[in-house]
């Protein structure tokens, strides 16, 4: 049986201190991600202007677990839809309309459907925002080109076996065009 695993709900970690390497092509960042995974830098990340396909496997991040949120939120919305209409029409305010059943549930279907979709969608997006750490307007931007045409490899200070000069030479060895050491004190 397929069960949700905690690591599927991987969270975005703030990029405060570490090493940033900038690459020019999607192939280069794929290669870099694979090498960083081999090196076992825990918690490393790639910064991409668009979703590069296959980067998840290269980085070793598991598939997102958000469909589980959708599933349970959908069940929740569906239950609310059924119970709310049943309780109001059959119990709280029963109206006999030309002898029809008080609990004429066929007529509840449109609203049950809408509530299911609504809560499934909204809760999933809320979960996405939570996991991606948005909204946050005071976030530091490492390099302006990373949302346009270049690709970043981020190795945080918290990574296991982090040694600044070693990491810098590792990223340079991968062909990083620009390698910057990011420290909290040189933040704007």
């Amino acid at each position: 049986m397929y069960l949700p695993k905690l690591e599927q709900f991987h969270k975005y970690k703030e990029m405060d201190e570490g090493v940033l390497g900038i690459f020019e092509t999607p192939e280069a960042i794929m290669h870099a991600a694979e090498k960083a995974k081999e090196k076992d830098y825990k918690g490393f990340d790639c910064i991409l202007p668009y979703p590069v396909h296959g980067i998840d496997e290269a980085m070793g991040t598991p598939r997102s677990g958000l469909p589980w949120v959708t599933f349970f939120a959908g069940i929740f919305g569906c239950t609310i839809g059924i119970l709310f209409q049943y309780l109001t029409h059959a119990h709280d305010w029963p109206l006999n309309i030309s002898g029809k059943s008080l609990n004429a549930w066929f007529a509840y279907v449109p609203i049950i459907f809408e509530l299911t979709v609504f809560s499934a969608g909204i809760y999933t997006v809320a979960a996405l925002c939570f996991l991606s750490g948005i909204p946050k307007a005071t976030r530091r931007i490492l390099h302006p080109d990373l949302t346009s045409h270049r690709f970043g490899l981020w190795i945080p200070k918290s990574a296991k076996g982090y040694n600044e000069s070693e990491v810098v030479s590792f990223v340079k060895g991968l062909g990083g065009a620009e390698v910057t050491v990011v420290k909290p004190e040189n933040q704007k």
């Binding site: 991987h10 975005y12 990029m15 092509t25 999607p26 192939e27 990340d45 790639c46 910064i47 991409l48 202007p49 668009y50 979703p51 396909h53 980067i55 998840d56 991040t61 997102s64 958000l66 469909p67 959708t70 209409q85 109001t88 029409h89 709280d92 305010w93 109206l95 007529a107 509840y108 449109p110 609203i111 459907f113 809408e114 509530l115 979709v117 609504f118 499934a120 969608g121 999933t124 997006v125 996405l128 925002c129 996991l131 991606s132 750490g133 948005i134 909204p135 946050k136 307007a137 005071t138 976030r139 931007i141 490492l142 302006p144 080109d145 990373l146 949302t147 346009s148 045409h149 981020w154």
Partner: protein
């Protein structure tokens, strides 16, 4: 040249982004309209539609002050232009969701060039539709009565078995899910604009709008999954919304309305009119913002084909309605349709047929599918025709069961003002949006570029 590119060339598959653009060119080209000072053309159009909107707002205020008697509605035609506009605009909205959701699920790469604008069109069209829905109740300040809320008047609840309440739930769910879907896709692009901004105020604006998006691969992986989920949720939502709108008519017991064909017929019509509106807007946008490399003739060709197919579907629906009316042997049903085509509003019926069924047939010819003026005119004609379709359906009321209560519906100046006003509001919102946000999904276009396959490296 990569193998994939060679295969594309051999099979003559056109590129979705032409002109040999690099990733950076894409950003620069698409962000340009957001960064430059608006052109004179933009200002003139904007001032025109803004004036229409402001006049409309003033007229709406007067309408509330005086009451709905200013409109042409009477007994038996109690529904008038507001509901015609409502159904028309909500139908326009559907193509946006269809392009972004259904084509996404079918992995249609060509949607990336047009999906952003189409989604924005959806939001604004649904907003306009919802405003018409609220206006037509006559006392809009009591509009909240449509929602089930705990009140102090004892156990008093809305009637969940009423199509009006279904409408409320369907439209508000559709609006919120579409908005979330649209904005979620915009966040990375707004981050791009933020990082390109040079002025402080612009940087701050986009910083807030982009929610502090960085582009981390972990976030992208979640975002991609959520886009897929929202696409999968919106697809049945598109069908349900117009189905429920058609229930407003179909669950009544009126001849001509009380038919099972209404839900699919309404959905097909919605897609039809929506695609026509997308073509209208895209033809303008690619000229005005110089986006011919992103909205290629191939995109327009695909949309024209969809317009032609959905045009045939609505044509089939018109024919089926007539056939079933005759085949049912129900004389009231037969009369309703006879009256539609040859009664006092027969002219509207034939406008509808010629605009919706005949005009899209020009797209059988490849030459005309690739002809900008032809498709522009055809898309406008289809929009007119689809508005008349809803008008024709509404006019079924003018001759009901009792000949003694038959009456004609004559729209007043206020009705026409409301109709023109909806276009004013729609285009004002759309033009403002074009200035602030990218009209093409920057990040998504990059995923379908030839560079991805290494062609330009």
């Amino acid at each position: 040249m990569s193998l994939a590119q060679a295969v594309r060339d051999k099979l003559d598959i056109p590129d979705l982004v032409t002109g040999g653009k690099s990733l950076k060119d894409v950003t620069v080209d698409i962000a340009k309209p957001n960064e430059d000072f608006p052109t004179k053309l933009w200002w003139n159009t904007f001032l025109l539609v803004l004036t229409i909107t402001l006049i409309d707002v003033a007229i709406i205020g007067y309408l509330f002050y005086e009451g709905l008697y200013l409109l042409g509605i009477n007994n038996p035609v109690g529904w008038g232009f507001f509901v015609v506009n409502f159904v028309f605009w909500i139908g326009i909205g559907h193509a946006g969701t269809l392009i972004s959701a259904v084509l996404f699920l079918f992995r249609q790469g060509w949607r990336t060039g047009i999906n952003r604008a189409a989604e924005a069109m959806t939001i604004f069209a649904v907003l306009v539709a919802a405003s018409n829905l609220i206006l037509h109740v006559g006392r809009p300040w009591l509009g909240f009565w449509l929602f089930p809320y705990p009140n102090e008047r004892g156990p008093l609840w809305v009637n969940f078995r009423s199509p009006l309440i279904w409408d409320t739930f369907a439209v508000s769910t559709y609006l919120s899910i579409s908005m979330v879907f649209w904005y979620l896709g915009l966040i990375p692009d707004l981050a791009t604009l933020r990082d390109r901004a040079t002025e402080t105020w612009r940087k701050n604006l986009y910083n807030v709008l982009s929610f502090g998006w960085v582009g981390s691969a972990r976030s992208w992986s979640h975002l991609e999954i959520v886009s897929m989920i929202l696409a999968a949720l919106s697809t049945p939502l598109v069908l349900s919304v117009h189905t429920i709108v058609s229930f407003d008519f179909a669950v009544s017991i009126l001849p001509g309305w009380h038919t099972t064909i209404f839900p699919p017929y309404f959905v097909a019509g919605a897609i039809f009119s929506g695609f026509a509106m997308v073509v209208t807007l895209m033809v303008i946008a690619r000229e005005v913002f110089n986006l011919k490399n992103y909205i290629t003739m191939k995109h327009l060709d695909n949309m024209n084909k969809i317009m032609m197919v959905t045009g045939l579907i609505v044509g089939l629906a018109y024919g089926t309605e007539f056939f079933i009316a005759w085949y049912s042997g129900n004389e009231y049903e037969v009369f309703a349709f006879w009256n539609r085509a040859f009664g006092p509003y027969g002219w509207a019926y034939f406008i509808m047929i010629s605009c919706n069924v005949l005009s899209p047939q020009v797209f059988w010819f490849r030459k005309l599918r690739y002809n900008i003026p032809v498709m522009f005119v055809a898309s406008l004609v289809v929009n007119v025709g689809m508005w008349f379709e809803r008008f024709v359906i509404m006019m079924t009321l003018n001759r009901d069961f009792l000949p003694s209560s038959w009456a004609m519906y004559t729209p007043t100046l206020f009705d026409y003002a409301m109709l023109i006003g909806t276009f004013g509001i729609f285009f004002t919102l759309f033009l403002l949006w074009c200035r602030i946000m990218p009209v093409i999904a920057i990040a998504e276009v990059k995923t379908v570029m030839p560079q991805k396959e290494g062609a330009h490296h």
